[in-house]
């Protein structure tokens, strides 16, 4: 089962802007196995979305992948037998044929509420271009037409067949009356239904992996529960890996088998979901877990908050980037030595000097 699908090795993404360089992703290393769900959690600006975009070669300007590699283990049929071909995504042309086949086809994606990013200042034309590039819904075109287009872009089938697949997918994500809904415009659907449509589009090409970037953040709790259930159900039936990016610890606990915790562009801890929640090793993970209130456990106690603020990305602290906020700060060490990626247990890695014996 633990056959790797995506291997990210020491990935580095930089944004060169006028005021300096932002290390949006700084040495991320992780593996997503087939059929597995990897959760990535972190606060805003920690680089979790950029990591996902790097896998699809969609890092927005002026960002650039400056180091590391992303290996995609692609299964192809040759002479009747199935072999695994390893593609290094970082070496592909970002606008080339190859990546376009992977993006949206073999690796699907869904984002936050799919229409919220559309602003009226752009013209209809630019929306369509953007939607094709970013896989978002175009407000002025019917849901079905957009689905058919995506399906046909990745599979060689007729329009009628594509439409049938679209209706079937809408039914599977729980849209009522899919035969009628396929001809609806996005604004006629509710936020939850639009997110279902996005999932349907993403899954219609039978991807090997789904990248879900905060897919339920803009939705209400009851709708969020529906969407999470659908994603889990579908994952069981189609054998697909999910990379689930969120800031919500509850959502990630429910969805992920393995979790990466990110802080200021670095993965600070990686372990199975149970270990992250029950035996967190990195002080940041521990602090994060303590800082959220829990439903049901009523107490007038104060929350254990993380002191201070997220540092200026142009002016990162020396040594371990978390040291100014860390409750276990060791003066003379943490502010001097950059911690390395250390194994702290079976399949449990952390980036902290506590475990390096220095």
């Amino acid at each position: 089962m633990s056959e790797p699908l995506i291997e990210v090795k020491d990935l580095k993404v930089q944004f060169n802007v006028r005021d300096g360089i932002i290390h949006a992703v700084d040495g991320a290393t992780f593996t997503i196995n087939r059929g597995q769900t990897l959760g990535i959690i972190g606060e805003s600006g920690c680089g979790k979305s950029v990591t996902a975009k790097a896998i699809l070669r969609m890092v927005p300007r002026p960002g650039k992948v400056t180091g590391g590699e992303i290996l995609y283990h692609r299964r192809i049929k040759s002479n009747g037998s199935e072999i695994t071909d390893i593609v290094n995504i970082t070496e592909l042309d970002p606008d080339g044929e190859e990546i376009r086949k992977i993006r949206g086809g073999e690796i699907g994606m869904i984002f936050q509420e799919p229409m919220s990013s559309l602003t009226p200042v752009y013209t209809a034309g630019s929306h369509i271009g953007e939607a094709v590039g970013l896989h978002r819904l175009v407000p002025i075109r019917k849901v079905g037409a957009q689905m058919v287009e995506t399906i046909q872009a990745h599979r060689r089938i007729s329009k009628q067949e594509a439409r049938e697949i679209a209706i079937d997918m809408l039914r599977r994500v729980g849209i009522p009356k899919p035969e009628q809904r396929v001809d609806a415009y996005p604004h006629q659907l509710s936020g939850g239904q639009r997110q279902r449509v996005m999932i349907a589009i993403a899954l219609s090409c039978e991807p090997k992996m789904l990248i879900a970037d905060e897919p339920t953040t803009a939705l209400d709790v009851s709708i969020e529960a529906q969407i999470l259930d659908i994603m889990r159900e579908l994952q069981e039936t189609v054998d697909m890996a999910i990379m689930f990016i969120t800031h919500n610890l509850g959502v990630v606990a429910e969805m992920a088998e393995e979790i990466c915790v990110m802080y200021m562009g670095k993965i600070v801890e990686r372990a199975s979901a149970v270990e992250i929640f029950y035996e967190p090793q990195h002080p940041y993970t521990r602090a994060l877990l303590k800082s959220i209130p829990h439903v049901g456990k009523k107490s007038r106690e104060r929350l254990a908050s993380i002191k201070g603020m997220v540092p200026d990305p142009f002016n990162l602290p020396s040594g371990c980037v978390f040291h100014p906020r860390c409750p276990e700060y060791m003066p003379g060490k943490c502010d001097r030595i950059v911690p390395s990626w250390t194994q702290v247990g079976e399949n449990h890695w952390a980036r902290c000097l506590l475990y390096e014996g220095v």
Partner: protein, 345 residues
């Protein structure tokens, strides 16, 4: 409600309604109403926190804004305990909905508001000093060097430095901006603060800091809060009592712990079960609510929740349930509240 709890009530909202007309056509004919707040009753005691929780569009923000008369109420009474209108310093309950502009302005010193958007709630053209001092200026107290002292004291109290006073909102992070908004709310020494999703836009670690600050301030200044949020865990953490809203109506109100352990309304039960638990070993027995939240301009008949309720019977679609105090201090609006055995968290 029982008599002995009656005295220390600070805010008593009765049958509050706010309908927004839907206007169409050239002549702006009113073709219907969005019943954003539809016959809502609740009360807040002095120094306590009432949580107001519900999904988007349920009218919780509108309710708060109607209380402070940013929107004019369509119907209902909002009683607030004050001694500002009595000659001998006695306190009385004054109906805010009936006050004229000048009287209302007097009472605005006692009720402040904290907003959700840490960017949008501060005027980008004003310095932090001007922002925090604005309530004092409005009430003619913003003159002389004491103002600066007060502003410095407020900023220090919310964890900002005095030199921040001369800066502008864009120079601060989200959490700091929210602190500026909190300092402004405290400028006139209010007794009630309406907090409209004050931590929803903040990151997890900053959210905890802000919640702690709000709790500390409550203890120091003896504040009462109406705390509006969609995040149940946050609401439960900070609230003494919680009211659950659904499509313009409060469906249940009780002590926070009681509500979570022993809910009486099916919507409360479903909402709580839907919250993802930060525990990977938790076996989810989630109640999935079918369909979407009802449209407040065209709500279903009877109980608004009945199309999504798994306990619905015929009566639920025919008659609106009555708002009643089933147990002391535990209110609910459900036909079947007595017979159902609902699951808490």
């Amino acid at each position: 409600m029982t008599e002995q709890t009656r005295d220390n009530i600070l805010l008593d909202v009765r049958g509050l309604k706010k309908y927004f007309p839907i206007q169409r056509g050239l002549l702006r004919r009113t073709v219907g109403y969005v019943k954003a707040v539809d016959d809502v009753s609740f009360y807040v005691r002095e120094g306590e926190t009432l949580g107001l929780v519900g999904e988007s569009g349920c009218g919780k923000t509108t309710a708060a804004r109607t209380i402070i008369r940013l929107y004019e109420p369509t119907a209902g009474e909002v009683y607030f305990k004050t001694d500002r209108f009595s000659a001998n310093g006695e306190t009385e309950m004054v109906n805010l909905a009936e006050l004229d502009k000048e009287q209302m302005k007097l009472l605005r010193q006692d009720i402040a508001m904290i907003f959700q958007d840490p960017i949008g709630s501060l005027n980008p053209r004003m310095s932090v000093f001007d922002i925090v001092a604005e309530p004092m200026v409005i009430h003619g107290k913003g003159k002389g060097p004491e103002t600066e002292e007060t502003v410095i004291r407020l900023l220090e109290r919310v964890g900002l430095r005095p030199e921040h006073m001369r800066r502008y909102p864009h120079e601060f992070s989200g959490g700091q901006r929210q602190r500026i908004g909190i300092a402004r709310a405290l400028a006139l020494n209010p007794r009630l603060v309406l907090c409209d999703e004050p931590v929803s836009a903040l990151d997890v670690s900053i959210q905890a800091q802000t919640l702690n600050l709000l709790q500390d301030l409550q203890a120091d200044f003896d504040l009462a809060y109406v705390f509006i949020a969609h995040d149940l865990s946050v609401v439960q953490h900070i609230s003494d009592r919680v009211a659950v809203m659904y499509v313009g109506k409060i469906v249940e109100m009780a002590d926070a712990e009681e509500l979570y352990i022993h809910p009486l309304h099916p919507y409360t039960e479903a909402l709580m079960s839907a919250v993802p638990k930060p525990d990977p070993l938790y076996k989810s027995e989630r109640i999935i609510m079918q369909g979407d939240v009802a449209d407040p301009s065209n709500p279903p008949s009877g109980c608004y929740f009945h199309p999504r309720c798994r306990y619905a019977k015929d009566i639920c679609s025919q008659e609106a349930p009555e708002w009643r105090e089933l147990e002391p201090d535990h209110f609910v609006a459900c036909h079947r509240a007595e017979e159902l055995q609902l699951r808490g968290v």
